[in-house]
Symmetry: C2
Subunit: 228 residues, 2 copies
DNA sequence: CATTCTCCTTGACCTAAGTCAAGGAACGCG
DNA sequence: CGCGTTCCTTGACTTAGGTCAAGGAGAATG
């Protein structure tokens, strides 16, 4: 059931600084949709007739192999746009999107949104920045997958979370270990084993989704020269 | 030695369809630079004070691990823009760029170029399309690295080249085998071995940089369900 | 509170692909 | 045209990490 969105657009970074006139136009464009845990937002190959912004909840974008293994490309939280690639490249969605928890998204239909950008270069500049940042993130993901072994990827990710959460010594996972494995290009078993080994070496302690970073030096070293 | 560029901008896809006024402005912005084989265009971490367009030659963009292994992110040919990510995200270059053969590039300084876009939404739309397409390519690269084994990656790449070169049954590598290995996230030894195996099974025949695709069916299958 | 999920962990095993080392082929240079 | 350098190929070996299988812990449900 599509609903009219609440007036939260102003708090979305992408629309930040937009005039209230444009915000009104956007508000009229947007269609609000709700999803329950596990539900797909779109599938790889679906026509890219618009993009989404997360209002609340969490969405994973991922690829699946023929044997059913899954690789998460990115996890999106509130305020982040999903699927703009399909809109601007004029192609079908290149990956799947599914929600990890009950979520609310806003949908912006392609054509109307494109018309809006054409009129407002500042919106275009914002989008360029968003896409560029995502590109940079892919750069890191490829580096991690190809040049680092699993322990290094885990260490990197923990340090990244510490940075993001603004706490040098303790991080909270926002996704399950299984999903984390899929994000890091490995499987739960391997993640589990390495996590144990890291704990045994005094690098971290794990308790549920709470992880204490005991040895930042060591983690830093591990994240670069992958040897555990 | 920077030189004024020749009037080839109109033939660059990114600037295609731009008015001659804007083309003149761009021409005045651009600085032509020449590189000899192996030379770096920029290094990871360098300030992103502008971006480049390939006029002739070939440029690889790549990451390097602490142990010296290299992963190529993309190979750019004539007409393609390099390094826009740094410009629009306002960050240093997130990877290295080096030329694979004697090359000529045009450099566009950041600030002037940004001013130009702000005035011309159609240029912004073109850039959005370019970045989106690159994003989609990364999507494929991550999928290949994480969800496919090396034989599958090779098969995919050969089929991709066949598509690109418009010849179903014969492709020509434009880079050395060693560089190809680095692009596919493996090493020359492994590439070599698998190529031999594929030849033994009648999928392909290899002679230098010329590869004949004998069994498209088989390659297609291999590219999906990676079993050789 | 017991039951059933779902998720996580550990063990034994196996295999894809990386390392090290040695020849060969091809290419550019003097 | 011969020489050296760079690139490619093949072989023997090692290993990171995936697979399969079996518990165990925690959360959710009736």
């Amino acid at each position: 059931m599509p609903l009219k969105p609440p007036v939260i657009l102003a708090s979305v970074p992408l629309f930040n600084g937009l005039g209230s006139h444009h915000l009104d136009l956007l508000t009229n464009l947007a269609i609000q949709k709700s999803y329950k845990k596990g539900e797909f937002v779109f599938s790889e190959g679906d026509p890219g007739d618009g993009f989404y912004i997360v209002v609340e909840g969490q969405v994973k974008v991922f690829k699946t192999s023929s044997e059913g293994k899954e690789q998460i490309l990115h996890i999106f939280g509130p305020g982040e746009p999903i699927g703009e690639v399909a809109v601007f490249a004029g192609i079908p969605f290149p990956a799947n999107a599914a929600v990890l928890a009950k979520s609310v998204l806003l949908f912006f239909p392609r054509d109307a949104f494109i018309r809006l950008i054409a009129k407002d270069p500042s919106l275009a500049m914002k989008l360029l920045a968003v896409l560029s940042t995502r590109l940079k993130q892919f750069t890191v993901q490829v580096e991690n997958l190809s040049l680092k072994e699993v322990p290094g990827r885990i260490a990197s990710h923990l340090l990244f979370l510490a940075e993001e959460q603004g706490n040098r010594h303790r991080v909270t996972l926002t996704i399950s270990k299984g999903q984390l494995a899929s994000l890091l290009g490995t499987i739960p078993e391997t993640l589990s084993r390495i996590q144990s080994k890291m704990a045994a070496q005094g690098l971290i302690t794990v308790s549920g989704r709470e992880i204490a970073l005991l040895d930042l030096e060591g983690l830093e070293r591990l994240s670069e020269t992958g040897k555990l």
